[in-house]
Structure formats: structure tokens, C-alpha cells
Amino acid sequence: MENPNPKSLMAAFHFQRALSLVHRTASKSSRAVRGRRIQCAAYASMAYSAGPRRAWSRALLRRLRRAARRRQPRAGWRRRAAAGAGAASRVATGAAGLRRLVPGGGGMDYCSLLEETADYIKCLSVQVKLMQSIADSASLCGQL
């Protein structure tokens, strides 16, 4: 990762902590469970590094805390959140589609939705790049 900026450093810090937690608590679990925990960890660390200044990160953190309180990490919560909109989310485009895709998008006015979407996309891209470089790095050196 060339020129790690503060945003990607924060994301890396949070993601690394979350990965440690997953490793500590789920290393004996199946690969599928671990994969879902890592997926949750990705969104959690995204939300933590964005902090409470953004509506989407606040909505994500609320969602994660609700899931944690229920004590059952509901499998594939992101998939179900998307599938709950069902075929509609595949068909729905435009502002309605964005409201389903961006956390907390339902309650915003149009301008805020556009702003939140832009920030959400930037943070998602940073998270994806981070995970890609970890995977590349781990696959290069991990098998030695």
C-alpha cells in the first residue's frame, strides 16, 4: 500500500484488532463461521475508523451492537440485510437503491444521502484495498 494515509492506517489498526479477536475466539470454528466473523470484523472496523461523525458509520455501529447484544452473531447479516430487500434491491436503483445499500440511508434527505454515499464508497474502497493487500501478503509469505 503506497502512502498509507491516516484513514487507511486507522482502518488497518481496527481491522487488525478485530482479526485478533476472531482468531482468539473462533480459531476452532468452521471456515464458514470464521469467514462470516471476518466479514463482520471488516464492517465493524470500517465503522470504528470512520467514527460517529458519519450517519452511515453510526447506523452500522448500531446494527452491530444490536447483533452483539442478541448474543447470536446472526449468520450473514449483511447478506440477509440485502436479501431482505430481496428482488427489490436488485431491481431498485437510483435513490431508493442507495437507501437500501448505504447503512442508515433510509432516514436521510437526498443531499445527505449523496454525501453519505460518497464517504461510504471511499471507506469501502479503503477496506477492500486493505483486505486485498493482507490476503496477498499472507498468501505470499504465510505458507513458508
Partner: protein
């Protein structure tokens, strides 16, 4: 104009939060979103309609979600075989590389 359709679809919300939301602001925000789209989704000629920008943005977000899912699976497999120290080393290497 590209903003006309978006204006009618959200006119109710706009009137309630009134003065600050001008067409120009919306146009700027849509342009910002368009700039975030990967090259493949952008047509090389600019002046893409607002509806198109929203549509492409939805697809872009969905593909980012899919990438996170796929990378999570890949990471769960890769990190299963290693201890936590090498996982942390991988993260630090990725930052320094």
C-alpha cells in the same frame, strides 16, 4: 437536465429541508459520486445523467460488498493456517509495501 428527475422524486424531502439544497449542490454531489466510480463504469464522455450516476453507484456498492465477502472467505482460509503473529506481520507488511 439530469437534476430534473431527481428533483421530482425527492421534491417532498427537499421542500421540507428547503433553502440549502439547490440544484447546483445536487449536481456537484452527483459529480463527486461519478468521480468515485471506477473507470469501467464511466462513459468516457461526461454529461452522464443523474439517474445513470445513481444506478452505476448502486452497482459499484454492490460489487464492493461482494469483494468484501470474497476477501473475508479468502482471509479466513489464509489465516487459519497461521498464528496471529504472522497475521499481524502480514498486515504490517501490507502497510509498508
Amino acid at each position: 437536465m439530469s437534476s430534473r428527475r431527481s428533483r421530482t422524486s425527492s421534491s417532498r424531502m427537499q421542500s421540507s429541508s428547503s433553502s440549502r439544497m439547490t440544484d447546483e449542490q445536487i449536481h456537484d454531489l452527483l459529480a463527486k459520486l461519478q468521480a468515485l466510480l471506477p473507470e469501467a463504469r464511466l462513459r468516457s464522455n461526461d454529461r452522464v445523467s443523474g439517474a445513470r450516476v445513481l444506478q452505476e453507484t448502486c452497482s459499484h456498492i454492490r460489487s464492493l460488498h461482494r469483494e468484501v465477502d470474497d476477501l473475508s472467505e479468502r482471509l479466513s482460509e489464509l489465516l487459519a493456517n497461521s498464528d496471529i503473529n504472522s497475521a499481524q506481520a502480514a498486515i504490517i507488511r501490507s502497510l509498508l509495501a
